[in-house]
């Protein structure tokens, strides 16, 4: 029974990682850049929902939508101001800019909301589910996280594979210049990708804070890095890969903690990543890209 309960905790944590990892993977797949500020957009999403519920007294669901709108706008603004001028710059410059944006967001949050941690009240209204005479307890947040994650993955898959904008995304990810020649607006496609990624970050932020109800300017930093690991683990650029990577990472983290050592849980996670990358350098579901020189 313990194992089952750890497994469920792992899947719950993993589904949050997966939602964050989607943001990384989509942006990487389409714009070929690592948006390290993604973790901090999560934090902003958390704060927005927190402000909406505690300061304005809004309904939790409304606060999630509010957070999504603000984060979408924020994502587009960041992309326009910080990344767009660097479209032709070497990828290292973009990477450093992303780290800069990450610091900017963290410190702006520090100024706006102070360093004092806030306690986030869960937006999930359900009580815990008790199974097997109360031996197995599954919290409402866990159930919602898993469901939301599955819904998001299915929706995204549909968008990317079935819609026109999805086609544009796939085209840009395959060859930016050729897509441009074919009349696909590369800038618009990248902006939309950022918008979707940031909206997902807001959802992830709210779920993260509902599961672990503490909100600080650095809240998004570590989950951001873990989710990035998950994206690489599953094969960066691949949407099902991000899902698989996220879930596996969450499960490994919790089971490692439970059965091996609470001290080494992070070491185990990253050791697994290293092994996977040695055996399969593109990640679990990553595509092999041939680069002609």
């Amino acid at each position: 029974m313990d194992f089952l309960s750890y497994l469920i905790s792992g899947i719950s944590l993993g589904s949050i990682y997966a939602i964050i990892a989607l943001g990384y993977t989509m942006v990487y797949g389409i714009a070929r850049m690592l948006n390290f500020a993604h973790g901090d957009v999560i934090m902003v999403g958390g704060y927005m929902s927190f402000m909406a519920t505690t300061r304005f007294g809004w309904h939790p669901l409304l606060s999630v939508i509010f957070a999504m709108i603000i984060c979408t706008v924020l994502g587009i603004v960041i992309e326009q101001l910080a990344y767009k001028p660097l479209r032709a710059a070497p990828s290292l410059a973009v990477l450093i800019t992303a780290i800069g944006v990450s610091y900017l967001l963290q410190n702006a949050a520090l100024l706006l909301w102070s360093a004092n941690p806030k306690s986030f009240s869960s937006v999930v209204p359900f009580d815990s589910l008790r199974l097997f005479n109360g031996k197995l307890i599954i919290s409402g947040t866990t159930i919602v996280s898993i469901c939301v994650c599955v819904i998001i993955i299915m929706t995204l898959n549909t968008i990317v594979n079935k819609t026109k904008i999805g086609k544009a995304m796939r085209a840009v990810s395959e060859d930016k210049d050729a897509a441009q020649l074919m009349g696909v607006s590369v800038n618009r496609t990248i902006s939309i990708t950022f918008a979707i990624g940031s909206a997902l970050a807001a959802v992830a932020g709210v779920l993260l804070c509902s599961a672990y109800p503490i909100l600080m300017p650095t809240t998004g930093a570590m989950p951001g890095i873990k989710a990035f690991t998950a994206a690489v683990f599953g094969g960066i650029g691949s949407i099902p890969g991000a899902f698989l990577g996220g879930i596996l990472l969450g499960i490994i983290e919790i089971l490692g903690k439970a059965y091996i050592s609470t001290q080494l849980s992070d070491a185990i996670v990253f050791a697994v990543l290293i092994i996977i990358l040695i055996v399969k350098p593109t990640g679990l579901l990553g595509k092999k890209v041939l680069v002609k020189v």
């Binding site: 505690t54 306690s119 109800p213 503490i214 903690k257 609470t262």
Partner: protein, 387 residues
């Protein structure tokens, strides 16, 4: 062209006015003595900013109060170190160039160890509000602590639990990446053993894994622990309390001074902390006049409830003031001379200081403070004395 001149004139006028406004803001000094220069160092930005900001604010309030009294005047220059030892030493050098005579700081342990080594060499008296590791004062006659040392808290916690018979099977969850938490944990375990307290489960986390505690709590629950000792700060503690409730586990929780602040967390569901016990030197809702006036001032100025770090910062400045107020010291007194004088005063048995964080504090030769800890428990969202 004329228009441009007019514009320049207006801008100049506004700037002049701004300059005048700056003058008006300055408090008129009751005496014309130059102030003694206090340097402060602590994290004002970054993850540990909550502590540094609190100390800086608390110290500032004390300085303003003392300056308003007349007599000795203080000037406080507080520098940011982002809780980083290297930046802390840089901040220390900046303050030395500024002419610092006494150091209030540093706030966090690791930077303090680095800075105290420098201030020992330079003979600058150092009184840290909150760096609680014994390493901070070890072998340095010029460094003193305002807060409990970590081992002391571990010992006193075990004493409290055994003497009051609070629990028979104890689980410990501590942060093994943190000197503060580990320091308390180690002493607690050895003292618990000496007192025949049974520790049934010991689990850890690090700053990077401080979000999911379901595993640690399940282990404590399976081991049948009826008391969980939490020698950690209040942020992870708040998560532990919430997750324990979600899994229907209700042991007694016992924290140390790092637990203080949990009730002031914005939007925190205080029913989660019902019955939590903690040892803390300072409670913001204590009824004595000094605390009440400090809390009121702090709330007015910073729109926030002060935590124990703010009180520590306040006490440090007042302790220095108490030590120096009858002495013949000025802004001209060299730092090394002040250092010798202050060491003499602080290690003198007759020097007893009562502040917000404890009554009748005395300091030992090695720089550790002795003050009685206050055992508290939380009832209906407020601290109640345990004794």
């Amino acid at each position: 062209m004329k228009r441009k001149n007019y514009f320049t004139f207006v801008v100049t006028l506004v700037l002049c006015l701004a300059l005048l406004a700056g003058c008006a803001d300055k408090p008129s000094k009751p005496t014309d003595t130059a102030p003694i220069k206090l340097g402060g160092i602590g994290p004002l930005t970054g993850g540990a900013a909550v502590y540094g900001i609190a100390v800086a604010n608390g110290a500032k309030i004390a300085v303003d109060e003392i300056n308003a009294l007349g007599g000795i005047q203080f000037e406080l220059n507080f520098q940011d170190d982002e809780h980083d030892a290297e930046k802390s030493v840089n901040a220390y050098n900046v303050l030395k160039d500024w002419g610092m005579q006494i150091l209030v700081g540093t706030v966090t342990t690791d930077p303090c160890i680095a800075v105290a080594a420098e201030s020992y060499k330079d003979r600058i008296f150092t009184l840290t509000p909150s760096a609680s590791s014994p390493e901070v004062v070890k072998g340095k006659d010029n460094t003193f602590q305002m807060c409990f040392s970590d081992p002391y808290q571990g010992i006193v916690s075990a004493q409290y639990i055994q003497e009051k018979n609070l629990g028979s099977k104890i689980a410990i969850i501590y942060n093994n990446a943190d000197a503060y938490s580990t320091g308390i944990y180690e002493k607690f375990v050895s003292e618990a053993e000496a007192r025949n307290l049974e520790v049934v489960s010991t689990t850890t986390f690090t700053n990077d894994t401080a979000s999911d505690f379901s595993v640690q709590l399940s282990e404590a629950q399976n081991a049948g622990a009826d008391l969980v000792f939490l020698p950690i700060y209040y942020e992870p503690s708040s998560l532990i309390l919430a997750q324990a409730k979600a899994m229907n586990y209700a042991p007694k929780f016992f924290g140390v001074d790092g637990m203080d602040g949990i009730l002031e967390m914005e939007n925190f569901d205080t029913t989660l902390a019902e019955g939590v016990m903690l040892l803390t030197p300072f409670a913001a809702d204590a009824q004595d006049e000094r605390t009440a006036s400090f809390v009121k001032k702090y709330k007015e100025l910073h729109n926030d409830v002060p935590n124990q770090f703010a009180a520590d910062g306040y006490d440090v400045v007042y302790a220095i003031y108490e030590a120096l107020k009858d002495k013949d010291v000025t802004a001209e007194t060299p730092a090394s001379e002040l250092c010798t004088q202050l060491i003499e005063i602080f290690t003198n048995d007759k020097f007893v200081f009562s502040g917000l964080t404890g009554d009748n504090m005395v300091w030992s030769k090695n720089g550790e403070v002795a003050k009685p800890p206050k055992g508290m428990f939380i009832e209906n969202g407020v601290y109640v004395g345990m004794d």
